[in-house]
């Protein structure tokens, strides 16, 4: 049923672009994420017929319509559950989930946790614009405290969720963050997620220029990036700034702290370890910034190996068949006490 990827013809962006006109607002960050994905796919050598995009509801969730792959635009919040069933039955497919912050963290928060803890082989992309776009601008579970929206005229009073902390709390085996202003970085993160054998969670800071314009501008504008984005690289000391003059250390009380490299010495900087067995360091890094107005880490926070759900399920089927032989319905019907009536 599937085409061997190694022998399939190479593809171009056009092979990944559906005939449907995107219906996002002009200038929406979703466009750049879409084209980053459409350009990346040929590089990965993926096959459109073996690729499925599954989504819930929201602006972000329209994504599957624009990819010339198999796709399902599901119901609000449930994409991880839809994708789990698909990926469990069809381990031969590349299954991606796309959703917004409301979709994946509010109504679908529960499904996110369980997809991540099960380590199903699905790639979850959270387009975080810190707002409900499709329903025209209510605050979301990632909106900052005090956010004034139509549903919070005096400012929101609820504490936001930190998506990466949530994912790491569920012990996701792959956790990364990127933003819609940097195609190459997005593609690096998507590629890493694609290569990961298990559930991958990628938060994409995405600008909603209609209802929450500039939410990430403080850190993602080109001139701000050097001083405000901390690019994580496995095995490298964590530093940032135009000249790499700033860095991160773990202080005596075990907390992470931003420092001038000159003050502490390069050798005392924290070295990033995305493969650390426990998610503690990654979790601390996810808490380093309280929002997109402080220096904020991007990159791969965590990438560890773990048993993947669908392959475990397949293994159990194979084991059961080895042990009991392939199912025999006639024998099953006679597996309990039977008697003959002449």
């Amino acid at each position: 049923m599937t085409t061997d990827m190694s022998t399939g013809p190479t593809t171009t962006k056009a092979d990944w672009t559906s005939d449907q006109e995107p219906r996002w607002c002009p200038g929406c960050g979703d466009y750049s994420i879409l084209s980053a994905m459409q350009l990346l796919m040929p590089q990965l050598g993926a096959r459109p017929e073996n690729t499925v995009f599954v989504s819930g509801i929201g602006c972000a969730a329209r994504f599957p319509y624009y990819m010339k792959t198999y796709g399902m635009h599901g119901i609000h919040g449930r994409a991880p559950a839809l994708a789990t069933g698909l990926a469990t039955c069809r381990p031969d497919l590349d299954v991606w989930v796309v959703g917004g912050d409301g979709d994946i963290l509010s109504i679908g928060g529960n499904h996110l946790l369980h997809a991540l803890r099960r380590n199903v082989n699905i790639k979850i992309l959270l387009f975080n614009n810190q707002i409900y776009g499709l329903t025209k601008g209510q605050y979301s579970p990632t909106s900052e405290i005090g956010k004034v929206t139509k549903s919070t005229p005096l400012g929101s009073v609820d504490e936001p969720l930190n998506p990466l902390s949530v994912a790491l709390g569920a012990e996701a085996t792959f956790v990364a963050r990127t933003h819609d202003m940097d195609r190459t970085h997005m593609q690096d993160m998507f590629r890493r997620a694609w290569e990961h054998a298990g559930a991958a969670f990628v938060e994409v800071y995405q600008n909603c220029n209609v209802f929450n314009d500039g939410a990430f501008a403080e850190i993602t504008k080109k001139d701000k990036r050097p001083s405000m984005l901390i690019t994580l690289q496995h095995g490298e000391p964590i530093r940032f700034g135009a000249e790499g003059e700033r860095g991160v250390i773990m202080n005596r009380s075990g907390e992470l702290q931003l420092v001038d490299v000159a003050d502490v010495g390069e050798e005392n900087l924290l070295v990033h370890d995305e493969r650390a067995e426990t998610p503690s360091l990654a979790f601390a890094l996810s808490r380093l910034s309280s929002g997109p107005f402080m220096p904020t880490p991007i990159g791969v926070f965590r990438a560890v190996e773990g048993p993947e759900y669908a392959s475990q399920v397949s293994r159990q089927l194979a084991f059961a068949q080895d042990r009991s032989g392939p199912g025999d319905l006639a024998a099953l019907l006679r597996s309990r006490a039977t008697w003959e009536v002449a």
Partner: protein, 628 residues
């Protein structure tokens, strides 16, 4: 009358009974379900026809000795065919005062009570709310009563086995089983064999249970307390190989059979809920059949995972009970809109809300038919006997696959846990329900280039093509937004929405031509008919038989499909002056029939967590005949 051991020895007689309804009742911890199950199995192997009704509390271990901790199991065994667990029991086995108190009312006048007299001590009497000892205060006047010190006799025989007295006491249900096995002349070997297999890994428990069982049997034989033994001869059943089966097992096996007949893998996603969990349990143990089971984080996720599986070309099934069906509504609407197969199985229980989790009811018909937003019709199939759940599962899968639609299959707590002998079907006779995936372009665009149109329907079934991921060239997107006819592209055009709404409805309506006619049981021209759906079939069948014996003609119409309704139903109903509709709800089918056929049927309702008895229905029929 209370027998005592001091009676003069009298010659033993063996009497033949046509039928026996026995009810085992005790504390939740007394093993009454198991006792009843064993008695049932021995009777089945002996060749009786039978039907059972397990009746247990929602609490796993309610405080011992209390009224709400009473667990009961009723079985009717007969030398003729039976379709219900019997109306009033003829024999009650009561293991403690609470069991006697809560169950005695059900016993038929002059019935037999066998009690564990050891349990009738002050503390237990108190807990059951007895101020005087019912064994001596006249409560049991009018019944044939046997007082058997089961606990002490069980401890006695276990003494030399090295079993601790506390553990020995647990075997007293096997003592009770031994006594009734003797009294009703049941074969003992099946039970002894079963004990060997079941407790093989715990030899002491096996020994204690076997010893208690034999001691109970010997007690019956030697004490002379019992003046007669009773025999229910084997029933004249159709020749074949039989097994004893309950509805949930039959349903699970039916799903496996459906997958084989469809040549597609089965995926079951479920969130545990009484009384549906046993289907999840049963199928989880059948991985060698290639069955994938998934215990989801909630019912919504379970339904969604099943939809995901169907999208991938597997048979997506989700099982639940009422509260879970409510949660699945939005997902079912999605499956309906993207027109993919999905089987949703609702094992109904008492509602609303948590309701009566362990009791039966058939009150989710409206939810199944109408419980979604928008115009969202879907096929509904209902099982009517424990073994028939097997075929109902195959039928529901058939419709889901062929018409690419969610189907709701209704069972209920009584069918789920009730068991009956089942003549094993010839697997050759099962229908081929396989369908083809679409693997090629199915249309051409204006320039004549081949294209795939995901909503280009089969002109006959109106089903859309099912092209699964992995198929080259046929990449397409489906979603819950309204789709343009043929292309499946998002469309908000008013006329298109009207068209799609009508097409979805027409597809389901059209299934009426592809289902069997109404089940009609008639023995001559009748002016009165009973119309049933679901498990009430059993009580109606018995009641109709009873009324007909020497009495007036009465027809029985039974619906296996609730949507679409059988094509012949309207004409059939028009034949009668009176149509009775008994339902374990407040008249849901009755309302449908009235509005659809403008026939003023008589609704008979019972919402008490227990099935109708045949006599309740027979009385209603008799009343209708008189008024007719």
């Amino acid at each position: 009358m209370t027998d005592t051991v001091t009676r003069q020895p009298a010659p033993r007689i063996s009497e033949d009974l046509d039928r026996l309804v026995i009810r085992f009742a005790g504390d939740s911890g007394d093993g009454m379900q198991l006792t009843g199950d064993r008695f049932t199995s021995a009777s089945a192997l002996f060749g009786n026809d039978l039907a059972t009704l397990p009746d247990f509390p929602a609490e796993i271990r309610a405080p011992a000795g209390t009224l709400h901790g009473v667990s009961a199991f009723q079985v009717q065994v007969a030398s003729e065919t039976v379709t219900t667990p019997g109306d009033a029991p003829t024999v009650l086995v009561a293991m403690n005062p609470a069991a006697l108190r809560s169950e005695l009312d059900r016993l038929e006048a002059g019935g037999t009570v066998i009690v564990n007299s050891d349990a009738f001590e002050e503390r237990n009497l108190d807990k059951a709310g007895y101020t005087d000892d019912p064994l001596t205060d006249g409560t049991l006047d009018g019944y044939t009563t046997y007082l058997v010190p089961m606990t002490s006799l069980t401890k006695e025989v276990c003494k030399d086995l090295g079993v601790k007295p506390r553990d020995a006491e647990r075997s007293k249900n096997f003592f009770a089983l031994g006594v009734v096995s003797w009294l009703f002349d049941r074969p003992t070997q099946p039970t002894l064999d079963w004990i060997d297999v079941k407790f093989g890994k715990r030899p002491l428990v096996a020994a204690a249970n076997a010893a208690a069982f034999k001691a109970g049997h010997a007690f019956g034989e030697t004490t002379e307390m019992f003046q007669a033994t009773y025999k229910v001869r084997p029933a004249e059943l159709e020749p074949g190989t039989y097994t004893s089966i309950n509805g949930n097992t039959a349903l699970s096996w039916g799903l496996i059979a459906a997958a084989q007949q469809a040549k597609l893998p089965l995926f079951l996603a479920s969130y545990p809920i009484t009384p549906a969990s046993d289907v999840l349990h049963e199928l989880s143990g059948r991985k060698n059949f290639g069955v994938r089971t998934f215990q989801a984080e909630d019912e919504i996720a379970a339904a969604c995972a099943a939809v995901g599986a169907s999208f991938g070309g597997h048979i997506g099934v989700t099982t639940t009970s009422g509260p879970g069906l409510a949660l699945k509504a939005e997902t079912i609407g999605l499956a309906l809109s993207i027109e993919l197969p999905l089987l949703v199985i609702d094992i109904q229980r008492g509602g609303p809300s948590t309701g009566l989790p362990t009791k039966t009811e058939a009150s989710d018909l409206n939810l199944a038919l109408y419980g979604r937003h928008g115009e969202a019709p879907l096929p509904v199939v209902a099982a009517y006997s424990p073994s028939q759940c097997f075929f109902a599962a195959i039928e529901a899968v058939r419709i889901a696959l062929k018409y690419r639609t969610p189907v709701i299959l209704l069972s209920d707590g009584y069918l789920a846990n009730g068991s009956e002998p089942w003549r094993l079907p010839d697997l050759e006779d099962l229908p081929d329900i396989s369908v083809d995936f679409t693997t090629r372009f199915n249309d051409a665009d204006e320039e004549g280039n081949p294209v795939f149109q995901p909503y280009k329907r089969d002109p006959q079934t109106l089903a859309r093509p099912w092209a699964v991921p992995g198929t080259p060239d046929l990449m397409h997107r489906v979603g819950g937004l309204e789709k343009e006819d043929v292309t499946g592209n998002i469309s908000y055009t008013p006329a298109n929405h009207g068209l799609m709404t009508e097409l979805r409805a027409a597809k389901v309506d059209g299934i009426a031509a592809d289902i069997p006619p109404t089940m009609l049981d008639s023995d001559g021209p009748a002016t009165v008919a009973v119309l049933s759906w679901g498990s009430v079939w059993g009580s109606v069948t018995s009641a109709v038989r009873r009324v007909r014996a020497g009495g007036p003609a009465v027809d029985h119409l039974h619906l296996t499909h609730l949507n679409p309704l059988h094509a012949d139903l309207g004409d059939l109903l028009g034949r009668y002056r009176t149509v009775l509709v008994p339902e374990m709800n407040l008249g849901q089918l009755a309302s449908i029939v009235r509005s659809r056929y403008l026939i003023d049927v008589k609704s008979i309702t019972k919402v008490e967590g227990v099935p109708f008895t045949a006599s309740e229905i027979a009385a209603a029929i008799a009343g209708a005949v008189d008024d007719d």
